[in-house]
């Protein structure tokens, strides 16, 4: 176990180093420097600017500085808004994005598990068909289509939720996050529902379920104690990809709903080609995702006694 965790941590560090190096190489492979596109700057200013971003030093030295800064958690200064550091942007945006993401994950996993259970228990009956239809919609409708639709109907036409603002305090913000959270959660919700349904059907076909029913356990108890516990394990495996999907999905959702999160900064930095912000956010998100996947794997090993961490999987 300890050996396995150590191995995974090492792998995690290598992956992080790889993505940082990749961003560095990619960003420095662009001809010219970030200031070439600006209006003609005086020679003196240009020199000062380059010195500020360490662009006047030879490339290997820049790389070493960059890795050293990363190791201490310093992600650099924005090029287009020079009085802002990338760390400040992340500090501002992250609570907002994290909240949106967490809400979406909670909706997707809880509602997905419940919907999948109902569909499995009521297999081939109207309830199952309705739920599966919703799941199909969830897989076919991208969040960047659902977002505008929710905004138009629930926000503007029927005025159920306020739009394009951001409130104060937990509950003040809550009503603004409802629509974006739903838009963000819809596809993952469909995936969880489908997976939960098929895994429930698998488990329900087992002999020990029949035994539990035969010895007279109440149906609800069979469902919670015997079925749910076993059926939920495959769902945990997709939590990693799910989190990735929700985080990347938040780029477009934050753009559509103009939410001041990291995604919005990221999308803006892409269109203004603010390379230090692009680099910083990419590395931050990659690190976050890699860590998440690591924890999901650990949790998976803990809840399923059949899985022994560190053993090679067969096939």
């Amino acid at each position: 176990m300890l050996r396995y965790v150590g191995g995974r941590l090492l792998l995690l560090l290598i992956t992080l180093w790889l993505i940082s190096t990749m961003t560095f190489v990619l960003m420095h492979s662009i001809p010219g420097d970030p200031f070439t596109s600006e209006k003609k700057l005086p020679e003196q200013t240009l020199k000062a600017l380059k010195a500020k971003y360490n662009l006047d030093k030879p490339l290997p030295q820049q790389y070493l500085l960059y890795i050293k800064n990363l190791a201490t958690g310093d992600l650099g200064i924005s090029i287009k808004t020079p009085n802002r550091t990338v760390n400040e942007m992340l500090e501002d945006g992250f609570p907002v994005s994290a909240r949106l993401g967490l809400q979406a994950i909670v909706i997707a996993s809880l509602a997905g598990i419940v919907m999948g259970m109902i569909a499995a228990v009521r297999q081939n009956r109207p309830a199952d068909m309705i739920l599966m239809f919703i799941a199909v919609l969830g897989i076919s409708i991208p969040s960047f289509v659902l977002g505008p639709l929710l905004q138009k109907y629930f926000g503007l036409k029927w005025e159920l939720f306020p739009l394009a603002q951001w409130g104060d305090g937990f509950w003040g913000e809550f009503k603004f996050t409802v629509l974006p959270s739903i838009a963000l959660a819809f596809t993952p919700l469909a995936l969880v529902t489908r997976l939960m349904r098929s895994s429930m059907l698998d488990v329900l076909g087992n002999d020990y379920i029949r035994t539990a029913q035969a010895k007279g356990l109440p149906p609800l108890r069979v469902l919670t104690r015997h079925t749910l516990r076993n059926a939920i394990i495959p769902v945990v495996t997709i939590m990693g990809p799910l989190v990735v999907g929700i985080l990347t999905g938040s780029f477009v959702i934050e753009k559509i709903f103009s939410i001041p999160g990291i995604g919005k900064y990221f999308v803006e930095s892409i269109s203004t080609r603010d390379f230090s912000v692009i680099m910083g956010v990419t590395i931050f998100y990659s690190g976050l995702l890699i860590l998440m996947n690591f924890f999901v794997d650990l949790v998976y090993g803990l809840i399923d006694p059949r899985i022994k961490l560190g053993e090679k999987e067969a096939g």
């Binding site: 991208p142 960047f144 503007l156």
Partner: protein
Amino acid sequence: MGIPAHKFQRVERKAEQYEAIRRPSVSYWQDVWRRLRSNWLGMTGLIIISLLVLMAVIGPWISDYTYYEQNLLEEKNLEPSSEHWFGTDDLGRDVFTRTWYGARISLIIGIAAAMIDLFIGVLYGGIAGYKGGRTDEVMMRIVDVLWGLPYLLVVILLLVVLEPGITTIIIALTVTGWLNMARLVRGQVLQLKNQEYVLAARTLGANTKWIMFKHLIPNTMGPILVLLTFSIPQAIFAEAFLSFLGLGVQAPIASWGTMVDDALVVILSDEWWRLFFPSFFLGLTLLGFNALGDGLRDVLDPKMRK
């Protein structure tokens, strides 16, 4: 009474007749087709995809307009009519033509990216699984490291740097896209290479290449085909997502993602057709490929065969 012996006719036993195969032999693809035909989900998907492909080919061609032709003065934001079947956008461009032109771009990108993934993945996974030992160890460690990279973030990063265009998107999508296929093929080959028929083939003097391409790969065809079908909608979605962020194909080329992005203004106005048509057909494409993938998995997965 009794039948005289000369009335009997001797039936000659012909060895070749006994050995003859009576039913027509069925190739792998005919078998897949026969199984798929009885699966309504897979067939629905296949029909949807066929219709979409057909429209992508003939759609822009049967229309009187081009995807880039603007008419700012007279034909701005027109509702769907007999002139413009899907209406026009804010630059007076015909939405019908643009939608089907976008279908071409999406399908080309999706299929090309999936094919490149297939090629690299089968080669890489096949070699790793077949060689085994140290080679496998090193090759799969590399995959493990790359596996940790978030797919869309890497693609975004590449597209920020590279020249925008269809080829660039395909390349960016395949940089980490082949990992799934490599893992699948490697696992399958690892399982299959110790089977008796592989041993038999080797005893008969078959070389590695023959065993690989005549025995191992065909036997993993089922899971490969299923994964391939699912990776096409993934690539199509990724392209639409990137175009929506402004990193995909560049104007005036139409893609479903850019059309949805352009149509965001309809939140405030009433030109529903500008958002509806590209999103509807994008959704239908994703649905079609996912249904086909589910159907194929049902009919090809040995565990599901009854």
